[in-house]
Amino acid sequence: MSTVIDLSIVHRGAPGGEPLLRADNLVAGYLPGVNILQGCSLVLHPGELVGIIGPNGAGKSTLLKALFGLVNVRSGTLTLDGEDITNLRADVLVRRGVGFVPQTNNVFPTLTIEENLQMGVYQTPAVFKERLEVVLDLFPELTKRRKQAAGALSGGERQMVAMARALMPEPSVLLLDEPSAGLSPVRQDEAFLRTRRINRAGVSVVIVEQNARRCLQICDRAYVLDQGRNAYSGPGRELMNDPKVIELYLGTLATDVDAARATADGDGDSHPTDAKDA
């Protein structure tokens, strides 16, 4: 397992500088009288990659939706670049450079892939051609099916379309809700790396993930959400090794399996060269 940690990445985004996106004590919910977020806070500095993890139903998606104006914020404040954006309409936020990939229902099923991507740059149609090339380059398997309706795609393919759509407009803040779910392992790795690369290119990212290890590996800082409240926060690596976090949220499966595999293999060699029967 690689242990290279470049600390310069972790605190990129100048702590102490003005946060780009800031949520303070958000209270939000769907049904009247039921608050899902019960005082959640989040800070995103320019150029930062922030991860959010937590158990199912913790309110992670709700938090992203609240940031994006899709869930009514009942109290608390929300600022982007110092300006109040509480309960602003989504399309206004898009114009201000915020992009969002929802967790479910994240494609337009009857539109073709290309049309889906076109919707991504709805507000700036001029750049469509140029961006399309860039994005299709990122997801080459979408190229040959450009004219196919997104509704007919497999789960993983949809996920790619969803991600691609969000990347079309070159946002300055990107909110990703479980972008890796349903992707094959190599595609997952790619997705995470791509996220990092995008982030490196200057996009500030908030990423919600259940593939928590991966998420913590790539992010500068992370929040652990539980029952609508911040439970833990800190640099990704710290959280990843925090026994409490491991016990409650990460589990030990990956390490167990890896350990078991290591034992079975006898040595650390993960490049078996014998089996080739396919």
Partner: protein, 319 residues
């Protein structure tokens, strides 16, 4: 053969242990015959506008074991599930479940015969409570017949059993506190959990899970795997699609790899995952590399090379 000996449940039924052991003797070639197949598919084909989504020449799923079905995105795994369970009709091919031919049998009959599936894109019954969702999963409730439904005493006893069982499963899936909420108000991961729990309500002979753990919290996944193993040990056959390799390695007894609609490899998890072709096409050699490694970010880095390899493999592999 077991991926992990410690997980071979001590209270497993003898036939389960036997079935798992029998796998060790098998050739690791696609379409290999199993000693005691539960599901046998032959020449099943499905095309969408010229694209062969599924083109399975022969596949057998061993009874009493956990079989994982893996493969790149768009390999045809979900479509294969749809075909087997009667939600889609193949262009050609036939298949048997537990010795009975199921070709052309409607989905509900397939399910009643003991083969229950879950959906990758969840189908929660939104305006019913979680508990009602669960109850609906149960079979042989006489109250589901219209006339008996009118006479309460005829079905309350069974209803009580069903409820108990549902509560039991809900607790296991950490959904018990949500039992009176509408399923439509669940989070994405909770829906996955409900979907799986609901499928288990009817004590299926073969349960087919389509990416059950995608979006489920890792800690919870871990505890649920124990449950799946328990199920197997009690005699249920499990076939699941999953992209989480830790999980595949942890619980599966046998792995089937699909690519571009075809079965391209089969075998015990360790062997399959060490298969270079599978690694190239699907896993990526370093899927357990720390992605925080900055060297990976350079264009043309290792991962990119693998991704390209996958794309190419996809194009070339099946003949």
């Amino acid at each position: 053969m077991s991926a992990d000996p410690q997980l071979a449940g001590s209270h497993a039924l003898p036939e389960v242990a036997e079935a798992r052991a029998a796998l060790a003797a098998l050739d690791q070639v696609p379409g290999v015959a199993k000693p005691d197949p539960m599901l046998v598919a032959d020449g099943v084909q499905r095309t969408f506008g010229g694209v062969h989504a599924v083109d399975v020449a022969h596949l057998e799923v061993q009874r009493h074991v956990i079989t994982a079905l893996i493969g790149p995105n768009g390999a045809g795994k979900t479509t294969f599930f749809n075909l087997m369970t009667g939600f889609d009709k193949p262009d050609s091919g036939h298949w048997t479940f537990d010795g009975v031919s199921l070709a052309g049998v409607p989905a509900s009959r397939v399910s009643r015969s003991g083969m229950v599936r879950t959906f990758q894109l969840t189908k929660a019954l939104s305006r019913m409570t979680v508990l009602e969702n669960m109850r609906l999963g149960a079979g042989s409730q006489p109250g589901e017949r219209m006339l008996t439904a009118l006479v309460r005493p005829l079905w309350v006893a069974r209803e009580r059993e069903i409820t108990d069982k549902a509560m039991d499963l809900l607790a296991r899936f950490k959904l018990d506190t949500k039992k009176d909420d509408f399923a439509g108000s669940l989070s994405g991961g909770q829906r996955k959990l409900l979907e799986m729990a609901r499928a288990l309500m009817s004590d299926p002979k073969l349960v087919m899970l389509d990416e059950p753990m995608a979006g489920v919290n890792p800690a919870l996944t871990q505890s649920l795997l124990g449950h799946i193993i328990e199920l197997r040990d009690e005699g249920t056959t499990v076939l699941f699609v999953e992209h989480d390799m830790h999980m595949v390695r942890h619980i599966s007894d046998w792995v089937v790899v699909m690519a571009q609609g075809k079965v391209v490899a089969e075998g015990p998890p360790k062997q399959v995952m060490d298969d270079q072709a599978v690694i190239d096409a699907y896993l990526g050699a370093h899927h357990d590399t720390d992605l925080g490694d900055d060297s990976l970010l350079d264009e043309g880095g290792r991962i990119d090379a693998e991704a390209d390899a996958e794309s190419e493999a996809e194009l070339e592999e099946p003949k």
